[in-house]
Symmetry: C2
Subunit: 523 residues, 2 copies
């Protein structure tokens, strides 16, 4: 495909609303008009062309530009920001917000101002439509900010074709640069069983792009990690029977066993069926090219589930084929482009960033790898390897963690002290603490649903080794807490902090209750 039509937006200062209208018209009409935002007055050679304007390309460009360099983003979509605001993290958060809302509404249905929800199935399609209408807003912000505030150069709505490590053709023009930065992202791994091409089989990408009917009352989710659970919790919250078909164990990535147990128990309590050790064998056609049923091998034998809606979440495959073919960059076993800690590929002057270089396929890594590539390109040697980062996922809840699990800590340290809420007690989780924002009604009426949290401490050094939280409102805190933990945060430091009560993480005040002791003990 060669894009030939073009529009020069350089001289115009489009407002957010105007950007929104332009993006929608280009996206909806699938026109191939390329948008050029090139600074013709700058006659310097580009320091880098960023192929792909997702998180990595945009942040890498911003950083390189901030350092005084010249950059060009080439992006096939009519907006910057990549898959996140279009079909990944933003819709995921929309669905997770709906799951949390619906769980609350169902739990209190028929009381207070909540309508009875027994047997009510709510629309999936309306939420997808809401997101589809709403996503242009963040898209517009990315384009606006990148042009008016960050002073970036970019060409949108046009795929680039790599000619060599310094040359890219796009929309009938040729651009050269000292370096090429590949930020082409990843795509959902496709399900490869009979019937996986039928209408009614979705990934997170195709769901928001193509859903055009209301799924019936049963959903099959294939996968058991972050994306599978995040979407599965939402489908379940809509009132549909939801079965997670998980090859091994669900949410293995949650490091702490008690936390994982709490998370899974709450999912099951909401009605999510988790079929571990199971595998989808085939999807049956209804005779008109649509899904009619899924056949699953389970530890109890084969089962057939009638449904018209299958959601697959099998991980992501880096889009490395095109650059591998064009440039011969080295590619790893999972289709990822191999880079060193300077983000350099096997081909001189070619860098790769973001999901394209493999795990962890997280936003911070995409953005920071772009930033580090920019530093190296601008002559400042800088090494980046993501490690010791905090992590999170959504069920109907937010689940956040950092550092070591209790079991991991016990392997490495002889004197591990645990502070948790609720504590071990004869009434178990039926304890009206923890409580904080968004869990107050649970804390008052359904205590066991009000969350669970744990701090893992080395009793000898008094240092915090790990922190784990299920509830709401702690995810943001884990970003900053993680920095403090890496600095060597102790239980005594925590005890000296100023809590904003009722704080989602009760770590500060719980630590204070114990920190007077020379010899720490559990709480």
């Amino acid at each position: 495909m060669t894009t030939t039509k073009s529009m020069n937006v350089r001289g115009e200062k489009l407002a957010l609303e105007e950007w929104g209208n332009l993006i929608e018209s280009l996206h909806d009409e699938k026109t191939d008009t390329a948008l050029f935002n090139i600074d013709d007055k700058d006659d310097r050679e580009y320091d880098a062309i960023f192929l792909g304007g997702g998180a990595g390309g945009r942040f890498g460009s911003a950083y390189l530009r901030a350092m005084g360099g010249r950059q060009l983003i080439i992006e096939r979509w009519p907006f910057l920001g990549g898959s996140c605001p279009h079909n990944a993290c933003v819709p995921h958060h929309v669905f997770s917000d709906c799951a949390a809302e619906l769980m609350l509404q169902r739990t209190f249905g028929g009381t207070l101002w909540f309508p009875p929800m027994e047997g009510v199935v709510t629309s999936i399609r309306e939420v997808v439509d809401l997101f589809r209408r709403g996503r242009t807003g963040p898209h517009a912000m990315m384009n606006y900010q990148s042009k008016e505030q960050l002073d970036l150069e970019y060409i949108l709505n046009a795929p680039g074709r790599i000619v060599d490590p310094h040359t890219v053709d796009v929309a009938g023009r040729r651009f050269t640069a000292k370096n090429l930065v590949l930020g082409l992202g990843a795509r959902p791994q496709a399900l490869d069983i009979p019937g996986s091409g039928l209408k009614g089989v979705y990934s997170n990408v195709s769901l928001v792009e193509t859903l055009d009917y209301e799924p019936s009352d049963t959903v099959v989710v294939i996968g058991g990690s972050k994306t599978a659970v995040e979407y599965g919790a939402f489908f379940s919250a809509t009132g549909r029977r939801t079965i997670l078909v998980v090859r091994s164990e669900c949410l293995k990535l949650i490091p702490d066993a008690e936390i994982r147990g709490y998370v899974l128990d709450r999912m099951k309590e909401q009605g999510v069926e988790i079929w571990e050790g199971s595998e989808a064998l085939r999807i049956e056609d209804d005779g008109e090219g649509r899904v009619q049923a899924v056949v699953v091998r389970t530890p109890d034998g084969e089962k057939r589930i009638e449904t018209d809606f299958v959601f697959t979440a099998l991980g992501e495959i880096p889009n490395s084929e095109m650059p591998a073919q064009a440039l011969g960059v080295e590619v790893g076993p999972r289709n990822e482009i191999i880079v060193n800690s300077r983000l350099q590929t096997s081909v001189p002057n070619v860098y790769a960033i973001g999901d394209l270089i493999g795990a962890p396929m997280e936003m911070f890594k995409a953005r920071k790898s772009g930033m580090y590539a920019a530093r190296n390109i601008m002559g400042f040697e800088a090494h980046y390897e993501p490690k010791d980062f905090p992590d999170f996922l959504h069920t109907h809840y937010e689940v956040s963690w950092l550092g070591l699990s209790e079991a991991e800590a016990r392997v490495r340290h002889r004197n591990v002290v645990i502070i948790k809420m609720p504590p071990d007690n004869p009434n178990g989780l039926n304890a009206a603490l923890p409580a904080s924002d968004r869990t107050m009604l649970y804390a008052m009426a359904k205590p066991h649903m009000s969350g669970y949290q744990k701090l893992v401490i080395d009793g000898d050094s008094r240092r915090v080794l790990g922190a784990h939280h299920v509830g709401y409102g702690a995810k943001d805190a884990f970003q900053y807490l993680n920095v403090l933990v890496k600095q060597g945060l102790t239980v005594d430091d925590l005890g000296e902090m100023d809590e904003l009560f009722l704080n989602p993480t009760h770590f500060i005040q719980l630590s204070r209750l114990r920190s007077g002791r020379k010899h720490l003990v559990d709480l």
Copy 2:
């Protein structure tokens, strides 16, 4: 009043549920049976008697006990934890959660799964009743944790009478200690105008203790600071006309002018009427001892508001009368007991902590002042003065802040750089960012409601001077971010952190977009 009946709970290991039942029976029946949890096997003299088992007394006791000392709490209520879980921060959070929920439900009423809410007035009384039933849970946890986990000694459901700095009489027994720690808290300042004693005039305390009818469709709130706004936002969210009668300016305590403007605009958008420069003159009797109307002097003349429900939030008055009379401790102009930075009063061996020593009447100060009193009592000189702490309040939103406002920063620094979201742009706040948990539906469909945030930076040193956030899910983070800011956090440090996207505070990624620049500029 002398309590004579008593029950010894020392030998029994009551579970949470048993504690709950016991507390309810004592509280509801208003029996004067004192609960004794005294370690008769410990023949040491008490290092301290804590008079009052609220946040300060309980944390001070826990810390002193953890240091190896012996303590005794004497508390008039049948539970530890004080006013917070009984009628202050916990119900406040319940009401604020309801306000946020109801705003969401009204905004999306009639769409998705939300019922139409136009004209619907929801019950205040049912939420009060829910809280009243639920509050025993946290009470039970405090008693359980304090006895079984923290090994504290306490006497509950019995007021103590101070004999001298070493002696307190309670429930017919006399106890002596090396020191006395006063933690008697504060009470709502009473409204002092004609009619303020009528039925239908409430404070946060009397509301949850005595509300026994459903307020009609108009609410008058007298006050314009944290408590007034937190409860007023809830009353408004129930669908009632809600008028805040504010003597000077509403929410003056929010330091940043733009943030304050956003907060007030969103309250007004929800229908809250804010009458600044106004004063309630008298409350009219309906002839049967109930409120019928409030007469208010406003900048536009006197107005009469018909209502049967008035909520007063005029601040808190320390309960210093009894100790002042019994001991002669020095008391300040706002009824607060004067202490030095070691928490010592003017009387040797008598300490005072918590709300009793005046502003800031915040949970962290109550607890930390207890902890520091314990250190001093145990022979470790320790000085405590709350300063540079983060702060927050609720409207329908969470509002969090730390450090300097933009205006404060511009007075002290010549080169202030602002990073905010949404940024200044021709479409103003109608921008679909920020977005994160609990604001996703707004971000998609009502962008201007999705929050507002600002980072204030010294462009020369690159240090963060202040942070400000309106939205949800950032309050917890401000606890830890505040520590980092006090350490000297820079925009470059922020850019190196690992965000958990979509993070409520977009500070990390926004900083990264600018941190490549030698000379910082606004974003």
